[in-house]
Each structure stands twice: as structure tokens, then as C-alpha cells.
């Protein structure tokens, strides 16, 4: 091969690199065999407190759910895993149809007209929703309202994403509830966003909200848990314009925070403004139904500096994962798993509320997470729980100073009654 190219050594091919900087030393370890690397990584993996060894009662944006066996087998097929982005649709119909089915199922869940193929996660989906809302206001409205009951990490990401533009963010500096947020609407507001169920697990009454937001000429954005939508009224029914959220509960493993799945769905009138890939149905030259990425001129490779977002690689395999999960669970399974989460969380809440010194907040309906006021600092309680193989809820006082000593507990279909009873017993012991 070297002869064909006309050089003597491979090094000759790098003459264009400045000689002063060519062929530096690489201070990396020596190569290892697969056996050795596997042993090393297995040891690193075991140095973590994972769900194989612990009962998980922690949520706050990442949830321990049942993943059907069939899912992993399908998703790890090389034809899906090692395929490229479907820019050549004739040889990518597998990926394209699966994404189209994912989009359709997300529309069904959320009650929206269209969904894109994915964003990086729930937080970035919300950040992109802000971009759409600002564009829908033709750049004239420069204020958005965020509920303080939206995941704090998501609100931080919105601020990171929009630090380069003139944007006023109102609503989340204190303890505003829905009616307080409505008071903030004016003719400068491009959007109002609330989380459903909110970060504290509660289901706010959103029935009149859309009317008020629309009266001010703004968009209503809901940040949702898609698993909860197996049970709860859809955002479409509630009048949402854009629905975003984290798709991790749909068959995606916890994986220390990523890769996850940002979903984005909206009403028809906003479809041409949204970022990310979208798959549409069409016909081929022989009249066969086929699928193709459409509305491509919006994307960065064509629109370049006028693109609304620079997103390119997204979370394709995770949308496939969600599509397979939703297919395996289906109409009935999604309802059942949501009900299991609801009943187990309410059982746990009731049992914990009976304990002296612990008070569960039942002021609003909740789905599978709830807030508990504790008689001792949450960090101390969790240290004691960890010794019993239990991962307790998160310390809300870290992000919400008025919620010092309050724990956010999540319960899912993965927590058996025995596990819940063990949690309650362990909490009881902490006050003895």
C-alpha cells in the first residue's frame, strides 16, 4: 500500500504537520487484553452502590423501573446499534420507521400533534422549548416564566443555554405557586412552564391554566414524566402548546445519569420552528410507503448560522428504546405500571406519616414521589439507611432552603411491599 501511495513509511504521510510538534509522546498505559480490561472494569463497577445491591427510594429526575428482558436484546442488535444517522433513507428504513412509531406513541401519550426524534435529555428539551417560544413571539417577547417546582437542574440548563441572549427569566426565585405565576403574565411573556407532576411529585390543578396563559398571548409548556401519563390526563387535554420531559422512565437504565432521552412534542403550528430531527411518511418511486427525515432545511447542516439550534447527533438509540418499551408495555401495561407506582407510593407515604416525628405533605395529590418532613437532617438519615442497603430520598434542603430537613421519596413498581416495610422500619429506628 505504501508503494502504491508513493511513500516509504507511514510517517511520511504527516509532512504537513509542523516538525516541531510532530509525533509527541503519549503518556498512556500499555495495551491490555479484553480479559484484563474486563476484570479492571468489573472491579470499578462493584465500587458503586447500585440497584443490584440496594433498595432504591430515590428519584428526582431518574427512576428505577422494570425493563423487560426483550428490550435489551432488540436494542443491542448490530443493525440498530451500529447504524448511522438515516441520511440515506433507502437503507435506513428500520431506524426511520422505528422513530416514526416513537413519534406517534409520544403524540398519543402527550396529546400533541407532532414529536421530534429526540433531544439530549429533559433539561435540554426545556431549553429548546424556550427557543421555540421566543421565535413564536417573533423575537418581540423577551420574558419567560418558570415554575420553581421545575427540577432545579433543568432551570439551570435553561440559563446556561440562553446566557448569550437577552432573556428575562421570572417566577422561580421564591416559592411561587400556580396562581402567583399567572399574576406574572404580561404582553412581554413568551411562555410559562410548569412541571407535571412537579419536582415534589405533586399533581397541580392545571385545568384553568392554559386559558390564562393564552389570554396573555404566551405559550404553555409542560415538563412531564411520560410514565405518569400512563395514568394522568394528557397535556393536550390540559391545553399545552409544547410538551417536554425526560424519557428515561421508558425502559432506559439509570446509568449514572446518561445517556437519557429528551422528548419534545408540540401542536402543529409550531412544527416548523422546532429543533431536532423529525421523521415523516412518504412514498418511494414505486409507490411503497416509506419514511424519511423531513423539514431538514431547519437543521444546522443546511440553515447553518440561521438554524434555531445546532443539534446534530441526538439520542437516537434511546428513542428506539422508548418505542420498544411502549410497545411491550402497550395500552394496558402503561396504565398498570403507573397504577402500581401510585399505590405503592401512597402506601409508603401512609406508613411513614404514622411514624412519630415524620410528616408527609398531602396538601396536593401526588403520583409516585412525595415530600416528608423529617425529625433529623436528611444526610444523617441517609447514612443510616445506606448501612441497611437502602438508598433513601434526596435532601430537598440543598436546592430549596425553606425545605431543610425535608426528604423527597420516590416509590416505583420495583419496590416490593417488603422493601417498603423495611424502609419504614429503618426510619422508625432512626428516632429511637
Amino acid at each position: 500500500m505504501l508503494a502504491a501511495i508513493g511513500v516509504t513509511t507511514i510517517e511520511d504521510l504527516f509532512d504537513a504537520v509542523p516538525s516541531s510538534h510532530r509525533f509527541p509522546k503519549l503518556d498512556l498505559p500499555a495495551p491490555l487484553s479484553e480479559m484484563e480490561v474486563t476484570a479492571e472494569l468489573s472491579a470499578m463497577a462493584e465500587a458503586n452502590d447500585h440497584a443490584g445491591d440496594f433498595a432504591i427510594f430515590r428519584g428526582a429526575g431518574a427512576y428505577h423501573h422494570f425493563i423487560p428482558s426483550a428490550l435489551g436484546h432488540i436494542v443491542s442488535r448490530g443493525e440498530f446499534l451500529t447504524a448511522y444517522t438515516p441520511y440515506q433513507p433507502e437503507i435506513s428504513q428500520g431506524t426511520l420507521q422505528a422513530i416514526f412509531e416513537y413519534q406517534s406513541m409520544m403524540c398519543s401519550l402527550t396529546g400533541m400533534d407532532a414529536a421530534n426524534a429526540s433531544h439530549y435529555d429533559g433539561a435540554t428539551s426545556l431549553a429548546e422549548a424556550v427557543t421555540v417560544a421566543l421565535e413564536a413571539g417573533r423575537g418581540k417577547r423577551k420574558k419567560i416564566i418558570l415554575s420553581p417546582a421545575i427540577n432545579p437542574q433543568y432551570r439551570a440548563v435553561v440559563r446556561t443555554y440562553h446566557q448569550g441572549r437577552e432573556l428575562k427569566i421570572a417566577g422561580d426565585s421564591g416559592r411561587a405557586d400556580i396562581s402567583d405565576l399567572v399574576e406574572m403574565l404580561d404582553d412581554q411573556t413568551a411562555m410559562l412552564a410548569v412541571q407535571y407532576p412537579n419536582y415534589f411529585g405533586q399533581v397541580d390543578d392545571l385545568n384553568k391554566l392554559a386559558e390564562k396563559v393564552h389570554a396573555a398571548g404566551a405559550l404553555l409548556v409542560l415538563v412531564v414524566n411520560p410514565l405518569a401519563l400512563g395514568l394522568l390526563k394528557s397535556p393536550g387535554e390540559l391545553g399545552a402548546d409544547i410538551v417536554v420531559g425526560e424519557g428515561q422512565p421508558l425502559g432506559i437504565s439509570l446509568s449514572f445519569g446518561g445517556p437519557y432521552l429528551g422528548f419534545f412534542a408540540c401542536r402543529t403550528e409550531y412544527v416548523r420552528k422546532i429543533a431536532g430531527r423529525i421523521v415523516g411518511e412518504t412514498l418511494d418511486q414505486d409507490g411503497r410507503r416509506a419514511f424519511v427525515m423531513t423539514l431538514r432545511p431547519r437543521e444546522q447542516d443546511i440553515r447553518r448560522d440561521k438554524a434555531s439550534s445546532n443539534i446534530c447527533t441526538n439520542q437516537g438509540l434511546m428513542s428506539l428504546t422508548a418505542a420498544i418499551y411502549l410497545s411491550l408495555m402497550g395500552k394496558h401495561g402503561m396504565r398498570k405500571v403507573a397504577e402500581l407506582c401510585y399505590h405503592k407510593a401512597h402506601y409508603a407515604a401512609h406508613q411513614i406519616d404514622l411514624l412519630l416525628g415524620f410528616r408527609v405533605d398531602t396538601s396536593k395529590p401526588f403520583f409516585h414521589e412525595f415530600v416528608v418532613k423529617c425529625p433529623r437532617p436528611v444526610a444523617e438519615l441517609n447514612a443510616l439507611l445506606v448501612e441497611k442497603g437502602i438508598l433513601g430520598g434526596i435532601d430537598l434542603g440543598v436546592d430549596y432552603p425553606h425545605l431543610k430537613d425535608h426528604m423527597l421519596i420516590a416509590v416505583t413498581e420495583m419496590n416490593s411491599k417488603a422493601e417498603i416495610d423495611a424502609l419504614v422500619d429503618a426510619l422508625k429506628e432512626t428516632i429511637q
Binding site: N48, D301, D305
Partner: protein
């Protein structure tokens, strides 16, 4: 026969996965919270498995064949990476465990940060960005914050070569800057004269890909870096083409201030039909405090031979902020870590040497059949023009579609924009000589067909699961969802 939609398979009442009966007392659910209707498939597990298995067979994939996609680095995705990412200790680890409960994961991330920094010659790395485009965004936001932190508010522009990948100018706009395009000179390098004229105190920095999107190493890279530094700007390198640089040159040593890596390109994590990827950023001294967070640091040094250090997540003091929830695409960090650990110092160097060898081999073998506008030693990829003098109406698109009939995925089409009918070819180091020779012979055959029987190209593909699609129809008659949506409120 097309594969039916999942909604058109199954029967009322079917459920694929099984769930246990509720083992706790039932709590009545307030009816006003509950949805009336849930429109999802009703299929058995067997039907789901068959449906998606059949769909998978319609795909091309690296596991199936050669993907000479320039700028995508479609190398083999080692299966051991998948097994490591699926270890329970990683896959079932909640991101909000207490610090002590994540020491294995943190140690892995810390080591990966160090290795990536070493490979490219940078001071520090953040693994936070979820993809290359997010890495770019982080890089430009860091440059912005660096200047603002110095009290310099005049810098509104970022310089970009006209051959840049579309994410570059899109990123610039997202960050609130104006993109200023620079032309290439006759050699395909950045036009130094135009660059020097553009450099002034309103320039925040420059984004450049090395090697560039023509696959060529900038002939005067040090002059480019100096020109921008001299006017007070910072240099950003798009690291998508790192496969051509490992063990050959360190961008940090050339003077770059910040760079993003694509773990799903250079470091073998699988493309998954469109992601997930991972786009860590590396920085020189100036930008260390501004890294997107959190990053993994050592909070307590190791004591004695046995003890490991205590790792922790930290937000850098002047961080541009959080780019997504949690810590980046950890599952991809595990895969990239495994890849680097297995390859080691020698393996990493060999990857680049063989990638560049393979690209040059194809280039010289095709240079008499196709026009190669900048025909000199290339990096890991090169660009040729997909048309023929004297042959009307044959475009790069037609050559691409005809390649499918021969069992190859087409190269990258119509990029970079500065070459007409561009076809960008990147073989990667994974392919052996026989695969490369097969591709070369096919490209020659197609060139002959273009002269003798051009209709074969124009009507291609013939053997793919579907023929050319009506993209106009797809854009005009938008069908993005197959279900009727019930009455919406609001």
C-alpha cells in the same frame, strides 16, 4: 412488502410485558386526575420482537458493511464496550447516590478526563457535553465568558472557514455571536490574507477543524493560531477529525485554547442510528475555570500504597454552567474508557497511522478516475468530485445511490460546500486492504457505468428495500404521526 406499523399489529387486550399484581393496599385515585383514553399498541412480546427484528433487517450498519462516511469516523464498535456499559454497577447506578457510593464511576470518569487531556495536550477536560454540537456550544460559551470576565465586551465575532461543518455557525448564533466566514485559498487552506484582515479587537475567537473538512492538514496552522492570538482572540478546534491526529500532534501544543472530542467518532462508541454520542471538551490553562460542570476532581489524595483517592463532582469556579441534567452521557464514557484501556499507548497511535494510510491508499487509487480538487497527502479522509466531464446530469447523489446496489453505504454527500458534487471518503483504520480494494473497484465500475449506461445510476438504488423517496411530498404533506389526536383543550 412494507413492514406494518406497530399500531397495525396486535389485538385488543394484548400486553407484551408481564407485571406483578399489586402487593400493597389500593388507594382510590381521584377520577378528575385520570385520562379517559390511552392510544398505545396492544401486542404480544413475540409480535414486538418480530416487528423490530424485521425493521432492523432493513438497515445498513457497520456490523453489516463498509461505511466510508467522511467526517463520521464509522469505525468498528467493539462488543466488549457494550458489555462493560451494561455491568450492573454502572447500568443500575442512580446518578444521585451519595459521593461515597459512586467512587467506581467517578474514578472511571476522572481517568477518562486525564487520558483525553493527554491525547490532545490539554490541561483539563469536562465530560459534561452530550454530543459534539454541545461540546462546540460549551467551547464558544467559554470563550464568551472568558472575555466578559476580563471586562472586554467589544468582541462580537467568531471567525469560521467556509468549509466548516454546519454545527459551527449554528453554535456561534446560539451563543450570541456573529459568524464571519473566511474563504479558502487555492490550496484548500484558510486564506491567511483574509484571516489577517479580519483579525481585530472585535474578534472573540476562531473555530477551525484540523485536519480541515477537505481532509487536509492546514499548511500554516501556527500562523493561523498566532494571527488570532495576536489580536486577543482564542482558538477553538473542532475535534471531529481527531482520528487523524492521535500520536501525531497535540492540538494543545499547537496553541489551541479549547477543543471538543466526539467519543462516537474517534473513540468507537456506537452511532445508534442517530445517537447517543458524547462531546467532552478539553481546555488550556486560560479556560480551566470556565469548564461546563460538574467535573470530577480529587477531593482527598490517596495515602499509602493501598488507598485510592476520594473523588468528587465539582462545579468549576467560573463555569459557564450546567449543559444537561447530571453528568453527561456516562454510558458512553464507560465505552470510551474501555476502548482507550484496551488500545493503550501503542494502539492509539496505530489507529491514526492506519486510518491515514487507508485514506491515502484509496485516494491514489481513484485519482485517475475522479477529480480530486486538492490532491496531496491527506489525513484520515479526502474529497473527490462526483461528476464526470462530458456526462450530463450525473451527480454525486446518483453515484451514492448506485453504490448501495453494490452493498456499500455511500460516502458523505455535498459536504464541504466549497467542492461541487462533493463526496467525502473516510475508510477508518478498521477496514483491511481487501475491503478497500473492493470499494475502489466498485467506484471505478460506477464511473464506467456513468459513461456507458448512466440511467443505471439515475434510477438507483435497485436492490435496496425501497427506491428513491419523494422528499418533496414528505415536506409538503407533513405526516409525522400515524394516530388521530383526540380533542385538545386550551
Amino acid at each position: 412488502m412494507s413492514e406494518p406499523l406497530i399500531y397495525d399489529i396486535g389485538s385488543p387486550g394484548r400486553q407484551g410485558a408481564t407485571l406483578p399484581v399489586c402487593d400493597v393496599p389500593i388507594t382510590p385515585i381521584p377520577s378528575e386526575l385520570v385520562r379517559a383514553n390511552l392510544d398505545l399498541p396492544e401486542v404480544s412480546e413475540l409480535q414486538v420482537v418480530r416487528h423490530f427484528t424485521r425493521l432492523s433487517s432493513l438497515n445498513y450498519s457497520i456490523d453489516k458493511g463498509f461505511y466510508p462516511l467522511g467526517s463520521c469516523t464509522m469505525k468498528y464498535n467493539p462488543k466488549v464496550n457494550e458489555d462493560m456499559a451494561r455491568l450492573a454497577g454502572f447500568a443500575q447506578l442512580h446518578p444521585l447516590v451519595d459521593n461515597e457510593g459512586a467512587q467506581g464511576a467517578l474514578a472511571l470518569m476522572y481517568q477518562l478526563q486525564q487520558w483525553l487531556a493527554e491525547i490532545s495536550g490539554f490541561k483539563a477536560v469536562s465530560l459534561a457535553p452530550a454530543a459534539g454540537a454541545q461540546g462546540e456550544f460549551a467551547g464558544i460559551l467559554m470563550i464568551r465568558k472568558y472575555h466578559l470576565d476580563r471586562g472586554d465586551t467589544k468582541r462580537t465575532k467568531i471567525l469560521i472557514p467556509n468549509s466548516a461543518h454546519g454545527t459551527n455557525p449554528a453554535t456561534v448564533t446560539m451563543a450570541g455571536f456573529v459568524a464571519v466566514e473566511l474563504p479558502a485559498d487555492a490550496n484548500g487552506d484558510v486564506d491567511l490574507k483574509a484571516l489577517r484582515e479580519a483579525c481585530d479587537d472585535t474578534v472573540a475567537g476562531m473555530m477551525i477543524t484540523v485536519p480541515n473538512t477537505l481532509g487536509l492538514f492546514e499548511s500554516h496552522i501556527l500562523e493561523v493560531v498566532n494571527a488570532v492570538h495576536d489580536c486577543g482572540g482564542l482558538m477553538y478546534m473542532d475535534g471531529a477529525n481527531m482520528n487523524a491526529l492521535m500520536g501525531v500532534v497535540k492540538p494543545g501544543e499547537l496553541g489551541f485554547d479549547v477543543m471538543h472530542y466526539n467519543l462516537h467518532k474517534t473513540f468507537s462508541t456506537p452511532h445508534g442510528g442517530g445517537g447517543p454520542g458524547s462531546g467532552p471538551v478539553g481546555v488550556g490553562e486560560k479556560l480551566v475555570p470556565f469548564l461546563p460542570g460538574p467535573v470530577v476532581t480529587i477531593s482527598e489524595e490517596a495515602t499509602g500504597d493501598e488507598e485510592a483517592p476520594l473523588y468528587a463532582m465539582t462545579m468549576p469556579p467560573k463555569s459557564i454552567g450546567r449543559l444537561k441534567a447530571f453528568y453527561g452521557n456516562f454510558g458512553m464514557h464507560v465505552r470510551a474508557f474501555t476502548y482507550i484501556a484496551i488500545n493503550g499507548d501503542q494502539g492509539i497511535k496505530d489507529i491514526t497511522r492506519h486510518a491515514v494510510l487507508n485514506a491515502n491508499y484509496i485516494r491514489v487509487k481513484l485519482q485517475d478516475t475522479y477529480k480530486i480538487p486538492y490532491n496531496r497527502a491527506c489525513g484520515h479522509e479526502f474529497v473527490l468530485e462526483g461528476h464526470f466531464e462530458g456526462v450530463e446530469n450525473i451527480h454525486a447523489l446518483d453515484i451514492s445511490k448506485r453504490l448501495m446496489d453494490y452493498g456499500f453505504h455511500p460516502p458523505t454527500n455535498y459536504f464541504p460546500l466549497i467542492v461541487p458534487e462533493a463526496l467525502m471518503i473516510e475508510p477508518t483504520e478498521s477496514e483491511d486492504k481487501s475491503t478497500l480494494d473492493g470499494f475502489i473497484d466498485t467506484m471505478k465500475k460506477i464511473a464506467a457505468e456513468a459513461h456507458e449506461n448512466p440511467d443505471l445510476l439515475r434510477s438507483a438504488p435497485h436492490t435496496a428495500p425501497v427506491s428513491r423517496l419523494d422528499e418533496v411530498r414528505a415536506a409538503k404533506q407533513l405526516v409525522l404521526c400515524c394516530r388521530p389526536i383526540p380533542e385538545q383543550g386550551g
